[in-house]
């Protein structure tokens, strides 16, 4: 009797703080609801809709029918998929992993060596391209690369041949434009990382007679490798999602020569009116994003146990 009473009491005592602790979490609810409805919802909806023949207009727009794996079968046999995947890899690899990353690191290293006013002015110029609204940056890049644009004007001034960049080399044009637009992010990440390296370390290396390149290769880069990994992951995800820049500059053309996955998903859904098929393309992109996102979270978790 006494034992059971005590058990009831402790049970009671345990339940009430438990309840109160759960009540404390109530303020999280609005955020969780928003995230579930507008973020998790569309992702799940995407996987569902990619199995239907949902259309932009007509009968299939209101009542889409279930067609199983038809969209994915079509996707696998569509010559656009390998082309678009390849273009996406080239775009992300060339403009983010090589372009933005290396240029950002170069800028950050140079800024520590240069005179302070020079570094400040150049830093502002680089950041300006990044802070501008994306549609404005896209218009500026379009004007720069167009046939009678600034780039050809410069090449002409140097006595070099002129080409229609957006027509003959659309991938090169959007690649360079994305480097111009996004390098500021890498530059800011690396500036913060470099300023966290203790002065004594650099000093000790100087005493040992290490040259500039040796210090960069054996001290600076190993010390900021955490930032490098994080930066690579984030710029990959950002570049994977670039749509506006490409849409304004080339709209995926000419002849699909710059149709990356986001552009392909948009074209299929809204230009050809096949929401179901466009969603299947988007699902591939979401999956790639989820894999990179999971890798990124793991990376940070290992960094800070």
């Amino acid at each position: 009797m006494a034992v059971s009473l005590r058990r009831v009491q402790t049970g009671h005592r345990r339940r009430r703080p438990g309840l109160r602790r759960q009540a404390r979490l109530l303020p999280v609810v609005p955020a969780v609801v928003l995230l579930l409805v507008f973020l998790a919802g569309p992702v799940l909806w995407a996987f569902h809709a990619s199995f239907t023949n949902a259309a932009l207009t007509g009968r299939n727009a209101r009542n889409p029918g279930w067609i199983g794996f038809d969209n994915y079968a079509r996707l696998l046999s569509d010559p656009m998929l390998p082309l678009s995947l390849g273009l996406t890899v080239l775009f992300v690899g060339g403009s983010a992993i090589v372009g933005q990353n290396l240029l950002g690191l170069t800028l950050a290293v140079l800024m520590r060596r240069a005179r302070r006013p020079v570094a400040a002015v150049v830093g502002t110029a680089v950041v300006a391209a990044w802070v501008l609204p994306e549609i404005v940056a896209a218009f500026a890049a379009y004007a720069y690369f167009s046939r009678d644009g600034t780039l050809n004007q410069l090449l002409g001034g140097l006595g070099l041949g002129q080409t229609d960049w957006l027509y003959s080399f659309p991938l090169v044009a959007i690649l360079l434009a994305n480097i111009w637009r996004g390098t500021a992010f890498s530059m800011l990440v690396y500036r913060a990382a470099l300023s966290d390296i203790p002065g004594e370390v650099t000093e000790a290396a100087l005493m040992d007679g290490a040259g500039g390149w040796q210090r960069l290769a054996f001290i600076t880069i190993p010390m900021i490798r955490g930032s490098i990994a994080t930066n690579l992951m984030l710029i990959t995800l950002q570049t994977l999602a670039v749509f506006t820049l490409i849409w304004v500059m080339t709209a995926g053309g000419p002849a699909n020569a710059s149709t990356t996955l986001p552009v392909l998903a948009y074209l299929e859904a809204f230009k050809f009116g096949d929401i179901g098929y466009g969603t299947a393309v988007a699902s591939v992109l979401i999956l790639i994003g989820l894999v990179f996102g999971a890798a990124y979270v793991r990376l940070l978790r290992e960094d800070k146990p």
């Binding site: 020079v118 404005v136 913060a192 994080t230 990124y296």
Partner: protein, 294 residues
């Protein structure tokens, strides 16, 4: 956030006073020259915007205007062309930022103040949410909005845009809140104030600056967003400047480049001004310390 700013400031001090060697001094000039060259490449595409906006007969090339004129600016200063779209941008961005701030502050409070098994998995899920490529979910979101009859609705678009930036906003708000010492609230708790009262009267006033940063950060993102309103808002009367600029100048045949440049500049000025405010107040890497360091 604050710790990052602290350490970077210390780093700059050290390199400024202590270890500047002769080798570094000698290396300055080549570094200056290379920086200026790279910087010039970044400025070139922007020159067109400025020159074309002041040139009544502008084309694609960055040409110094033969004679300066404000005709382009005068031509676009009409309610239909400029003011209505800018007002729509304002409503969308301010609404998005307000929804973000309320949801993020409420969510951050228990995450920052109470220990729970729920905290770490939640924060990692949030971080994971910041990684989702938003352009990838726009086609499914369109499908979802059609089914729910939410297409072309301002409030629905605001809530969707708010959710896309919410993970980042929660992450930043929690970091700012962690920097407010708990001891002050404990006194209030002893006096019988509830958690939310303590939040409103003690914590929020102390993290005003951080809240400003979060608000401006979300506002800038929403103001510059083109793809989301492009897909979700169909009627011209509701479209923000980012979309109207595209449909007015991008799709019609003869493009008035000077007016396009002038519109672009007027549309960019608020964002540039807000960025300068935040960068001056909280160090130029304001957004990154929330994103990268945590």
């Amino acid at each position: 956030m604050t710790t990052t700013a602290g350490t970077s400031a210390r780093g700059q001090l050290q390199s400024g006073t202590g270890a500047v060697s002769h080798a570094q001094q000698r290396a300055r000039t080549p570094a200056d020259v290379s920086l200026v060259l790279i910087g010039a490449c970044f400025v070139l595409p922007l020159l067109w915007l400025v020159f074309a906006s002041l040139d009544a007969s502008a084309g694609h090339e960055a040409r110094f205007p033969g004679q300066f004129s404000v005709d382009n600016f005068a031509a676009i200063m009409t309610p239909g062309l400029l003011f209505q779209p800018l007002w729509n941008s304002m409503v969308l961005s301010a609404g998005t930022a307000a929804v973000n701030l309320v949801a993020a502050v409420l969510a951050a409070y228990p995450l920052s103040r109470y220990q729970s098994r729920f905290n770490r998995p939640f924060m990692y899920t949030i971080l994971f949410g910041t990684c989702l490529p938003i352009t990838a979910i726009m086609v499914p979101v369109y499908g979802l909005f059609v089914q729910l009859h939410l297409l072309d609705s301002m409030p629905a678009t605001i809530f969707f845009m708010a959710t896309t930036t919410l993970p980042m906003a929660i992450w930043m708000t929690k970091n700012f809140m962690d920097a407010v010492p708990v001891s002050l609230e404990e006194a209030a708790w002893v006096d019988g104030a509830s958690g939310l009262t303590a939040l409103r009267t003690i914590v929020l006033p102390l993290m005003r600056q951080g809240l400003g940063v979060v608000f401006i950060f979300v506002f800038i993102q929403a103001w510059g967003n083109f793809f989301v309103p492009f897909v979700l808002l169909l009627s011209e009367a509701r479209q923000p400047a980012a979309v109207s600029i595209f449909s007015f100048f991008g799709q019609h045949g003869a493009v008035a480049y000077g007016q396009l440049a002038a519109f672009s500049i007027l549309y960019s000025v608020p964002v540039l001004a807000l960025y300068v405010i935040v960068a001056k107040g909280a160090g130029s890497s304001f957004a990154l310390s929330g994103a990268v360091k945590g």
